[in-house]
Amino acid sequence: MAAKNKKGKKSISSDEQSQTKISNDVGNYETHPFFIKKVNQAKEFLQKFGLPQEQAVKKS
């Protein structure tokens, strides 16, 4: 059973994480400038250094 903290907010242990709440309230931040910037930085990084052990395949 999930514990509640002093403010009554539910906290969960790892065993309970499988019951993740799916909610439309979360939204989708795919086009948010913050994440666009992050993904571009990551892409630049990978173009420079590649991946470890080449197990992920770069699309041609």
């Binding site: 907010k9 539910k10 906290s11 994480q17 799916i22 993904v39 990551a42 992920a56 699309k59």
Partner: protein, 153 residues
């Protein structure tokens, strides 16, 4: 995943975006995490994570929240990564902090919980422009994690 208390979180139907609330002396701070497919890199996702300003819609990962729950937030982020990679078993997750200090914070989190992380994930770090298997006590510029294929939960 980790035998530690994290915040409860929600995700969207695609399991790409997650939110939870950090609660502490500075009040309630909404955190957003997202796994973004990196264009041209098959099955490689950037893990982006920051504080949402619900008034402006801005997200920042450069603000130091000082909400006295840093470890709990890190555990929650780890649980989210665990959840996502459980859903997408071939996903490789790229993680880099905004600043070296923030990257170091992630590294300290990995170090601290290494005994729980290591059986489940392969973690690599980049050092001096080369990827190497994660070693405790080494400073890295970025990380890449993926589920160990032989791991059976």
């Amino acid at each position: 995943m980790m035998n530690l208390e994290g915040y409860a979180y929600s995700t969207n139907a695609a399991f790409t975006d997650y939110s939870f609330e950090s609660i502490g002396p500075k009040g309630t701070i909404k955190k957003i995490a997202r796994f973004s497919q990196i264009p041209d890199w098959h099955n490689v996702f950037n893990f982006g994570f920051g504080d949402l300003n619900e008034t402006t819609g801005e997200i920042s990962d450069s603000v130091i929240s000082n909400n006295n729950d840093g470890d709990k937030v890190l555990v929650t982020a780890a649980n989210i990564i665990y959840e996502f990679t459980g859903m997408f078993q071939n996903a490789q997750v790229f993680i880099q902090g905004t600043t070296p200090a923030r990257t170091r914070k992630y590294q300290m989190g990995i170090n601290k919980h290494w005994l729980e992380i290591e059986p489940v994930f392969e973690i690599f770090g980049i050092k001096e422009q080369k990827w190497e298997p994660f070693r405790q006590g080494v400073n890295y510029e970025a990380f890449l994690g993926r589920r160990k294929t032989s791991f059976v939960f």
